[in-house]
Homo-oligomer: 324 residues x 6
């Protein structure tokens, strides 16, 4: 039997078998008895799936949170593609011989994580201010395991494995360029780029999917992150107090305005630059992803609800991975 | 020569001598040469004053930030009362014999501070949860000197000596009553009442007048206060983590909404109650003060710009000090 | 056959028989012919139900607006529970022997109405001002039948039998406490608590469910209520004009701001207090009810769309009935 | 000595004598002793005036609220014209021989009141519905004295003698035309045009200048007017209830949206039309008046703060009195 | 077999055959295999339809964009009417004998286009200013084909054949009346009424249904229209520059405010009038249409989401075609 | 006599002579007779000045719009510095020998215009797309005279000689860097950077100070600029239509949102980038200028009303001219 393409490449004519991660499973009752509604995902993203036939035997073969082997075909529902599942069961060891790889089933940054990590350490090594460099080294060392794989959000933008790292690196490139152009303090900006979302390591839990922690919901990543960095700065002997306050200000103000969740507005040149870079990177990521995923006809995409507009597809941007 | 009434009781017919704190002094040049524009204050509040005659000799006699002896008379300017100063000099030791007392020249809560402190310690003693009680005892002990005298704001509401303490006690009374009525956790609310604005001890500097510190402006009292309390909770062995997170949530959410400066919205019954109590107390204080200070004719006050309305004076509230 | 639990306690494993009020019935056509979609309710709240089999014979057995006997089982649909109905018919006299009681099928305040009525008359008796006390006595006497049973809203908060009375009493408790704390005029506040929503008696029609009347939609309860009270005040000889205007102001301004439907903003101490108490009580009721009804996993509820947030379930509030 | 032109025609070169109404008088103290700041007005509008010399003897000669005889000259202050007064005293009987007429000193509609009254009674006579015609006749008869002279506002638009009548008639012309074009119920719209602002007769007090009454501030003209009309409708035997509700809806909704002070939004064709006509007439009156009064150079006026824009003067509208 | 009524008159009891335009066709997969979901329309409007049986053979008989012959019956789904299709095929020449007429299947203005065209040319002929008259004649001549049939929008209001012309004529009537009442320049307003939406001829593509063009989405009809008119004015020798600027200002400012898409606010009397007329006509069209199409019970319609309210049906407006 | 420092370096102790441009002159009457209030400026910015003595003879010596020789001294008024003028007269030819240079009296970009022009032509030469390069060459050639000297605004940011060119070049640097980082089309972005504000050449008039033209006020620079560029693109044979539409979209959407004056929102990657770059450059210019001009004490500036915040001065940015 044919192999299904990866989710991003599925269409209504696709049919065959494939391996996925099942992140949601719900049993509903319809006229003809129960059926199952699922969310499946692979490295290229998520899709809704339904088990409409042989529900009972299929239902017993897997649970939400497991990797699954699926036989099915694509189908349109309200102009959105979904997968109609004929057979499904949890992955077994022998599936490795049939091509199953765990990493193929988890949405992931298009950039290899080791390449990104090398770039990150390069940026940190270039920080001239010794206190800042030590701060960054310590925080990276303490959080390496999470920093390598964490997503930048539960949804909205960079919501996949290593998405936070990818987002941080793009902002580092942007603020580095802007620091040159505007004569701003580059060390401060590189630190801000790395640290502005570091609270997400505790705001979100993440194994194969992200969710908010109790602290994440009740405190928010801005406050959590400012606290993590304040603790780290205190632990460094001689860290200048004025510098510590500015770093914390960068983190607190990086959403740019109160109604966006920052408790204070940017009040330094660097805080203005960091907030602008973060906002632009998040928006461009949504633009690129929506252009890549949209399957509507015509020169414009469907409506993107976070950006509150449709996008123009006329001249396609080169790729999602931002490599120029 | 007659003694001037205190500032709150001055009118355009007042004339005589008095002692004040001069908080601002500026030299301007007009057609007839320079003149001075001052802000003077006593226990009852501030007033604008002008030195229009004998400017040079008067100018040499005092500086901003000093206590001064003044001879002058009330005068209306754009329907606002001001003090036209004929003679002014800094206070000298002999003025003690003429009735000068430093504490008469600093705006102050109408409630005696010792009485308030006794009420505060009573509230804390009644907290049943041992971790919370220890937290409150520690923070009060560490910050007693400031907590006794700090204002609640630079302007807007409770912007005078011991204003923060007065504000905290009113909120304690309110949340205690609401906890009874709504079956909410009173210990948590008493803690929230005491701690919600504790960051103001570092957000504001205060000697004889309040101003924002560098940390106050760049970080804000919500973040500062959450950090102070988090540090204190960590220092208490066995402080429950879930409780710590809820306490921090109370502080972070107490402005009630993002555009008012809270990085998170209230998500617990107690957080809703605390935010409502804080908002009401701040507004009622502004209402009472504006009713007390307004000198316009007719049944309505002049426009109050923070509340964005005029207020009805028809039936006067009993007093500003809120004692029932 | 087993008895179904009450609606608030249903889950996907529930199966059996029960009595309900059917408030909506709609016939739809699907692939396999028609099916029915219903809303059923009992004292604990409403639920969506579907008749998927034996549609024709079941359809003939009942109409919307009738009490019904049902055999069915719980089922999840988009993570929301619904009831799949196997058999349904209108209630017959013999059902009384099987446990049917009309009052068990109508959502109702958790507090007994007679207990609430006693509390209400107690509050009124304690009003010292004779004009105000007469006003309240008259309006309560004229409207007793409705005041005892009316809901406070069609949905949102206190949207069940005697919900308005429950809401009024909570506000009386709150404003009474706040009047003590802030030295405000308690008689005026008790009157405001009773009268602020009295227009709802004409804004809403109510038998077993609430809906807007023509006057309710075109005029709104604020204007209707102010008119009802103005008429009653005129009918009392010697009712002071200034007091009448303040009472009417309390009613008109109790939503707190223009965009919330009040034609004027609060301009007296009492109007600020009443608006704050009404807002807090409505919000806390929504918080409590959402916490009680939410069936999602994890420490947070699903999103509450009126409050625009999820709520924290970590430490459960004691109960929905607000008894402490 | 020359006669001063009327206020609307004054410029910095004007000098001479004139009669005015003094609506405000305030004594201030400057370097050289006290001076007086006044507001004077005549039929063409208000102006700020100052008494800088002979202050004491001039001050004794008049009070605010009196008609005064003035000798002075125009002067520019911050690009705004004001009147520097050399001599001022209250009007005496002999001034009648010198040309003083009380009506020349009160700002007034450009249309003669009797002409407007005739137009008004014509519109009412043309109302076909007998209940509506009787309602309008009664309310006009009861309120004739005020309706003939009342201003439409304290400031903003039509803020002069008979301004309310002028505003009502313009709206009658507009809604009559729109009723034809859109097939709407003209009788209802004529009634709405006459009654929508009738609450202003009690919201404002007016003798020679307008101010808010206690009821005006605490209740607002929308609620007051709806109550006046409801009382009048009740007094007419057989007035249809549905019609009464629609009339009241027209009054309540005529500001068009909640944040503009209407407690309900327009929900009928006629309510949409009335709200649009009222808004347009108020705006065009401000446009015309600002174009007429603006004395700035160039093709654009100064900024108009209620309309939040400058206006284009390039092709002058024909006149302020709206006659075509 | 019975003939189906036109779509606006369908109800759940309707059954029979009819001719429609199919504007959308989508294949979905359900439990029992695929089914089709369609949008069908006739002169009276659109409806959702479903093919649930004989899907394969029906599917082969037609495509989206074709006129179709249908056999089916009405059905309610979520309180909205839809058409369940039993048989469907594309129209064949012989259908002309069975009553098929292309124009019966396209939603269309209730006013005959030739009658409207005659009215339009009459308005233009009455323009006194020769430059303006020439401008209007040229633009009408150049765009006659489109102007006769274009809709005014893709949805929202006047979204049917000749809807733009109908909208323009209503506005001409309104601004003509307002020009008389307010002494405004009628020629300018007639030009503004004709030209304000002329960019829609390029913003929208239209054959049997409207959609946005690339230019329409990326530039918007306001900018497109201003450019079309500017080009036309340049081509007329001696067209006064000041007049050209005012005409362009009318087009640019006709949405009334920046957040509604106008890059400048109205700054002339005529621009205020045109923006008010356009807004009122669009709203009244939505009111009329919603009142006509709404099928809910009771005195109020269902919620209209563009107007953000329900509407009162108590006294029905005369008709949708606005003829008085 | 000493030479006054340039305006940016004046303080209250400054006294001496200097040359300035007088951009405003107004005569007011005070108690002691008339005085003059002026605005003077030199290359470093503007200042308010007053002539309080010898008013008549000084008044005859100069007019607004002329270069003047002044003798005076600095003075504080409401904490703002102003210049009290003792003698003033228009500049005469002999003043050249005393150091008068016209260019020293006009506020000007800190970057030399020839250097900027060279940078500009370099950017254009690097555009690879031949149509775009030709477009830019033509527009620069046609508008060189204005492009070299025009300010970017009347106030707010870059409101001085050659400010537009300085602003354009900064944006070119930013979008060039962002195009690299995000793989966006650099040619399109360079064109957008040059053309986005080109309408300002007609929106503003400028000789020695900027003001809005009639077209500027009634049409706005966005619409004017889009029209200028559209005309230029049409004149180039074979200019691709899709490219032309995207260029026009860049100009129209560059304010980023409707309420900021853009008639359409950004819908391409490049439009998002350009809008972000324009917004950031305008804000950073205001930040830098406010930090440079602010003369308040302490670590924070006074409130900046366009940015709606105070700014932190703790670590001074390097300089206003943005050179790194």
């Amino acid at each position: 039997m044919a192999r299904l393409p990866r989710i991003a490449d599925l269409d209504a004519a696709s049919a065959g078998t494939g391996f996925f991660l099942c992140t949601r499973k719900e049993r509903r009752t319809g006229r003809g008895g129960p059926f199952l509604i699922l969310v499946l995902q692979d490295v290229s993203g998520p899709i809704t799936a339904k088990v409409l036939q042989d529900v009972e035997p299929n239902d017993e073969q897997f649970d939400a949170g497991e990797f699954v082997a699926v036989q099915g075909r694509g189908s349109l529902f309200h102009q959105r593609l979904e997968l109609v599942v004929e057979r499904i069961r949890r992955v077994i060891p022998e599936d490795a011989d049939r091509g199953f790889r765990r990493e193929d089933c988890i949405p992931c940054s298009p950039r290899p994580v080791d390449e990104m990590w090398t770039e990150l350490t390069g940026w940190i090594a270039a920080v001239a201010d010794p206190h800042l460099r030590e701060l960054l080294c310590r925080l990276v060392a303490q959080n390496e395991e999470r920093l390598r794989v964490w997503p930048a959000a539960r949804q909205v933008h960079h919501a996949y494995r290593s998405g936070l790292l990818e987002h941080v690196l793009q902002i580092m490139r942007v603020v580095s360029a802007l620091a040159e152009i505007y004569g701003a303090r580059k060390d401060l900006l590189i630190a801000g780029a790395l640290l502005h979302d570091i609270g997400k390591l505790q705001e979100l839990s993440y194994d194969v999917a992200a969710d908010y922690t109790v602290e994440g919901n009740l405190l928010g990543h801005i406050t959590i992150g400012a606290g993590m960095v304040r603790d780290a700065m205190r632990a460094i002997a001689g860290f200048p107090r004025a510098l510590a306050t500015e770093i914390e200000h960068l983190i607190l103000s990086h959403h740019g305005d109160l109604e966006l969740g920052s408790p204070v507005k940017p009040m330094t040149v660097e805080a203005f630059i960091l907030a602008a870079a973060d906002d632009l990177d998040a928006k461009l990521h949504q633009v690129r992803r929506h252009l890549a995923e949209d399957s509507s006809d015509g020169p414009f995409t469907s409506y993107q609800r976070y950006l509150e507009r449709a996008l123009y597809k006329g001249v396609r941007p080169r790729s999602v991975d931002n490599s120029s």
